[in-house]
């Protein structure tokens, strides 16, 4: 028994399982989906509209009243990166049902991979490979950001497996506490990693900057920018890249959900003992969800570090883990489309929505009436908290619930609450 099913890469779902059900859409585990042409059209349309965003962004912002609330292209990059992390976290929390309160650790690990392999951090060495937009004389390790993204993904996957193996034996609350611990350890390590037996690994609280920018160098052939940093359309290129990364994440996420591995995750989420009795290897299956979730967190972290051109320990506080978790909960645990919506909405509020709303409120209300201004953005965690509580009370399955959870909502048979909060 050398190869065990859950070990197979997700692409394996094309194995003979489908041959009996390709027509009916219900083969063995890991089914082939039947695409609804309307949905396909919708997805393609949305994708096209998203790609063109930099072109009509200014036109949108010029619309009176509404225009002020339209996020700029730069803000969109941040929203996309956070949404990508939320979709990654959804694999762990939504699919496999493992409450991970330390996802920020993977974000940090990814960001520092970019900081190590695409900056002047290690001045004692000089190694360039595919780096763009910088002088070849620059000391430090400078790999192409594309390579760094992949390395960061691999590195965080390994970190995920290392953290996962000892901790995933725990269930529920215990797992949450341990992951919370790891989420705290990594930023602390980063903060104190400036002198590891005399070796400056992380540059301590100062963080590492600048970090190289992505770009295509000579390969771009004039069509693609040599380096994003020096491009006239810097923001747009970062936006498009973030969008492509998010789309890849979504694609993998949907494929995984419908794979044999995805089904095993859902079985574990539903009933761990029953899943074991069906022959699902628990540890391996859970570790895969953790590792794959970590992969996307790492890639997103590395990309974000490159976009910000820096990695700082202050970016990796616990509240980021919670913030990402809120995106997953708001959107609907396990539902990819829901998590995208949740990620974009909370991402928007976080990046500029709240401060815009605050400014407007001040102009229209607080200033003229009370002669005072309030800073709405400072209340952000109160606001997110209120949103989460409302969601839990009135729509616990999220904005766009996963099919399975929606059924639960409609049929109302499981996990009935002690009393109906919405009737008050």
């Amino acid at each position: 028994m050398s190869s065990i099913p859950a070990d197979q890469p997700p692409a394996r779902r094309a194995h003979p399982a489908g041959d009996d059900g390709a027509g009916g859409g219900s083969g063995g585990i890991g089914r082939r989906r039947v695409f609804n042409p309307l949905n396909v059209l919708l997805v393609l349309g949305l994708t096209a509209a998203a790609f063109l965003y930099p072109y009509y962004n200014e036109a949108l912002q010029a619309i009176p009243l509404i225009g002020d609330f339209v996020p700029g292209v730069g803000a969109m990059v941040v929203m996309l990166v956070f949404t990508m992390m939320a979709v990654g976290l959804n694999i762990v929390v939504g699919y496999a049902g493992l409450l991970d309160l330390g996802y920020v650790a993977f974000y940090a690990a990814g960001a520092y991979m970019a900081a190590w392999f695409a900056s002047q951090q290690f001045e004692q060495w000089r190694f360039h490979f595919g780096a763009v937009g910088i002088s070849p004389e620059l000391p430090g390790i400078h790999l192409s950001i594309w390579i760094v993204l992949i390395l960061a993904g691999i590195f965080t996957t390994v970190v995920g497996i290392l953290i996962g193996l000892p901790t995933l034996r725990l269930r529920g609350d215990y797992l949450a506490i341990v992951t919370l611990g790891f989420g705290e350890i990594i930023p602390q390590f980063v903060r104190n990693g400036d002198n590891i037996f005399g070796f400056d690994l992380t540059h301590g609280t100062f963080g590492i900057s600048p970090i190289d920018s992505p770009g295509f160098g000579a390969l771009g052939g004039g069509l693609l920018p040599e380096s994003y940093q020096t491009s006239f359309e810097r923001q747009s290129w970062f936006f498009w890249t973030a969008l492509v990364l998010l789309l890849i994440t979504i694609f993998c996420s949907v494929q995984l959900r419908d794979s044999r591995l995805g089904r095993a995750w859902i079985a574990i989420r539903e009933d761990e003992t029953a899943a074991a009795a069906m022959g699902i290897p628990l540890m391996r299956t859970k570790t895969w969800s953790y590792a794959i979730g970590a992969f996307f967190g790492g890639v997103a972290g590395a990309f974000y570090a490159s976009f910000k051109s820096g990695a700082f320990p202050a970016d990796f506080y616990f509240n980021i883990s919670i913030f990402l978790l809120c995106m997953v909960i708001l959107g609907g645990m396990g539902s990819v489309w829901g998590v995208i919506v949740g990620g974009m909405v909370l991402g928007y509020l976080n990046v500029e929505g709240l401060s815009t709303i605050g400014t407007k409120l001040n102009e229209a209300f607080f200033d003229p009436v009370f002669g005072k201004q309030i800073e709405v953005a400072k209340y952000q965690f109160g606001i997110y908290g209120a949103i989460s509580v409302r969601m839990m009370l009135f729509r616990p399955v999220g904005l766009i619930p996963e099919r399975r959870r929606r059924r639960e909502l409609e049929e109302g048979v499981h996990d009935e609450s002690l009393y109906d909060a919405s009737s008050h």
Partner: protein
């Protein structure tokens, strides 16, 4: 059926030898020895807490014994993890049924075939389960958690059959069911057995279990108290008093 006969065990497919299993500090099984042979239904009866379910959990790898040996088809499976045990051909309908409540009947059946390598016969097997349990065919797209207890039990047994087991473990299939469903379930248990699958049946409903089985073991506080032909146990004074409610 030839596999077990060739390994010289006299048709014994599963053998437990002096199995001791603990829950933490609690010594739940105090030296269980039993056999299941090819083609037969063996029942394990006894009061609540006697260790019947623990015996099954020891076999399928959810609770590894601290002492003793479990041999399946000549292979020592004492310390194999559950997924390996399933892969070797032991599948079960666990205590309390343990369906995936938010998956449909059909999806539950799919999960039963999780460890199977040969996917080609998948549809055939689903059809076989549907023909055993026509009710499941009607409800194939319903969420398993919304069905009645009897239907859920059918689904749990059907799911276990999807693994094409060489040995089927049934844990209290009659628990919580209306008498009419109990009859029905036992009928199907016999039918499955007649189609060639040996069954280890754990039951509190000793009367029904002994009627269905060829041989039986009576458990008391972690030990095998009696072992005999089902017919003989049925006549046994002690058994009649303790488990069959006769005076």
């Amino acid at each position: 059926m030839s596999a077990a006969q060739t390994n010289g065990g006299g048709g014994v497919i599963l053998r437990l030898e002096d199995v001791h299993t603990y829950y933490g500090a609690i010594h739940a099984l105090k030296g269980i020895s039993l056999d299941v042979r090819e083609g037969e239904i063996v029942t394990l009866i006894g009061a609540n807490g006697a260790g019947k379910s623990t015996t099954l959990r020891s076999i399928n790898g959810l609770n590894h014994p601290r002492r003793g040996r479990i041999v399946f088809q000549g292979r020592d499976i004492t310390n194999e993890p559950p997924h390996e045990v399933v892969k070797m051909g032991i599948s079960q309908s666990p205590e309390g049924r343990k369906l995936f409540p938010r998956m449909t009947v059909r999806e539950n059946l799919e999960m039963g075939a999780f460890q199977r390598r040969d996917r080609a016969n998948f549809k055939e097997d689903v059809d076989r389960v549907y023909s055993l349990f026509p009710r499941l065919a009607e409800r194939r797209n319903q969420n398993a958690g919304t069905m009645s207890g009897g239907e859920q039990q059918m689904c749990a047994i059907g799911r276990a059959l999807m693994a094409r087991p060489k040995l089927l473990l049934l844990d209290e299939p009659s628990m919580g069911l209306a008498p009419i469903f109990v009859e029905k379930i036992f009928e199907i248990v016999r039918e499955i057995n007649e189609q060639g699958t040996p069954i280890l049946l754990v039951e509190q409903n000793a009367l029904m279990a002994l009627d269905a089985a060829e041989r039986g073991y009576v458990m008391e506080t972690g030990r095998i108290a009696l072992a005999d032909d089902a017919h003989a146990l049925r006549q046994n004074e002690q058994v009649r008093k303790a488990y069959l409610g006769e005076t």
